[in-house]
């Protein structure tokens, strides 16, 4: 249990809690309206009234970063949810039933993996239309292959365990065994995958928004803020740096958290 107290794990927890608090506060309070423009104070350096400075429209960057956290968490959780749901259905059936079911599902997953994820997302978004909903769907689909593989491998592992065989001998059907006997035991690797995939989703959203395909104005999104900050990289460097640091914190935080959970499991095994 000592291992779970490792420094990276603590850093991860602190980062995630900080960002989460920021997101929760933003529901009730932001120093300025996130979309409130003030042409009188464009690209101001950080000061007491604007701790993170202002952007090219004179909007308060802190308020927009806080509001953007909502988007980031929304996209993270919902795309992980989509990925988990489909990944579970596919991975559990492939792993549990094996044989030709496994063969068909895994070849399909291999095809998805072979196709660059971000390209797939861009394609999906250009077929439909850019926006929050389609970004979530695209990123969710991108994460399906990873979940499928992880869930499949733990199902293959647990399928050979005596207690699973014993429940077959009790007369339990496939669904019962999958839900009651294997899933709870496979929970921790799935949790690790979900945490790591969360940071992947946030990075994906930033990437898509940076390309202008993700969240559309005026909703604040970290990726798009990065894009907007790019022309002013020389005149207002803090804009790029602050947004970049926030994204890094988020991704790093969830990665460290995921690693920490994995380490914690290793001590048990």
């Amino acid at each position: 249990m000592k291992k779970s107290q490792s420094i990276p794990w603590r850093i991860g927890i602190v980062l995630v809690i900080c960002l989460m608090t920021m997101m929760i506060i933003s529901f009730f309070y932001t120093p300025f309206g996130p979309n409130e423009m003030n042409t009188g104070s464009r690209l101001e350096a950080p000061s007491f009234s604007h701790p993170f400075g202002t952007d090219n429209f004179g909007r308060d960057i802190l308020s927009r970063v806080m509001q953007g956290a909502q988007t980031a968490f929304l996209i993270g959780t919902s795309s992980v949810f989509i990925g988990l749901m489909f990944g579970f259905i596919l991975g559990a059936s492939a792993g549990y039933f094996g044989g030709w079911v496994d063969e068909i599902i895994m070849r399909f997953i291999d095809a998805m993996l072979a196709f660059p994820g971000i390209l797939l997302a861009i394609m999906l978004i250009s077929v439909f239309e850019p926006g929050l909903k389609n970004t979530i769907i695209a990123i969710g689909i991108m994460s399906v292959p990873g979940f499928t593989r992880i869930i499949r491998s733990s199902f293959i592992q647990y399928k050979t365990y005596d207690f699973v065989k014993a429940s077959v001998a009790k007369g339990a059907g496939a669904l019962r065994i999958i839900y009651h006997h294997i899933l709870p035991n496979a929970f921790s690797p799935i949790l690790v995958a979900a945490t790591l995939s969360f940071s992947g989703a946030i990075l994906g959203e930033s990437g898509l928004s940076y390309l202008g395909l993700g969240v559309q104005p005026p909703d604040p999104s970290w990726g798009r803020m990065l894009k907007e900050a790019q022309p002013f990289i020389v005149t207002a460097p803090w804009y790029v740096i602050i947004v970049g640091v926030i994204i890094t914190m988020m991704v790093l935080g969830f990665n460290l958290l995921g690693d920490g959970i994995r380490d914690k499991q290793d001590t048990k095994a």
Partner: protein, 331 residues
Amino acid sequence: MSTPLLSIENLDVAFHFQDGDYNAINHVSFNVYPNEVLGIVGESGCGKSLTSKAIMGILPENASVKQGSITFRETNLVTMKEKQWQKIRGDAISMISQEPMTSLNPLLTVGKQIAEVLKQHRSYSKKEMKEKTIALMKEVGLPRAEALYKSYPHQLSGGMRQRIVIAIALIASPQLIIADEPTTALDVTIQAQILDLFKNIKNTRNSSLIFISHDLGVIRQVCDRVVVMYAGRVVEQGKVADILYEPKHPYTKGLIQSIPDHTKRGQELYTIPGNVPGLKERKRGCPFADRCAHRMDICHTHFPDEVYVENQAVSCHLYTKEEVKHVSTIH
């Protein structure tokens, strides 16, 4: 005796490998009658467990029944679909596995794991299920059953876990219970307690029991009849007393000779020379031929037919010749 509850005829189970199929069970035939305890003995790798798995329809993925039939209550189990199997498993036929340590789900309370069988096969209310489970837990000798109902497998000792596993097998009052080396993983004192429990089950329940073991001492204590298996074949079967005191097959004789007892004190214990031939090394003829002191030329080419000698059925060329004594049938 009455009609058999379970009747296995000419069963062949083969493992499929890259280079072909290898029979792990060859022409196995035996019956289980209502309310009897049938023992299956043999060394490791003789196909005892595989036979029981074939009865439950839970053969490993690379094995299948090649021919023969397993008839249970007038239905041939071999040709059954998975859905029909699910109705029978745990309800009409149940199994007690070798490993009480690993055959319980570590994340479910033991009470739930026992009640799960009822949930699967009966439509009781939650309260009824719990009552029945606790009553049975008491019956299999678990103290403080109410408290244990909510405990997890890791909180219990090996003997208690084995009692839970036995309770799982008994809860639906199945007609046939298969106990696959239920005492092997336990230490001697617990083993004795579990054997007492089996004797109890035998006396109080209307179930037939197939008791698999490699320990003839254990078999003697609980079984009525015994089937001796060697390298996937039944070599001898009959009543326990007959087999133990008047063994006919050289393999059975060897097994009995190798049981330690007080009369053999100070002497070197007898061992049957050699090992069970591996699956791919099995040739035509009697698989025991290479280890047998009485082998004849015919042993290497033909497996003997089953003949009745005195009170038991034996498959050995020593008895297939002229000196075959006429005997009444076993049952």
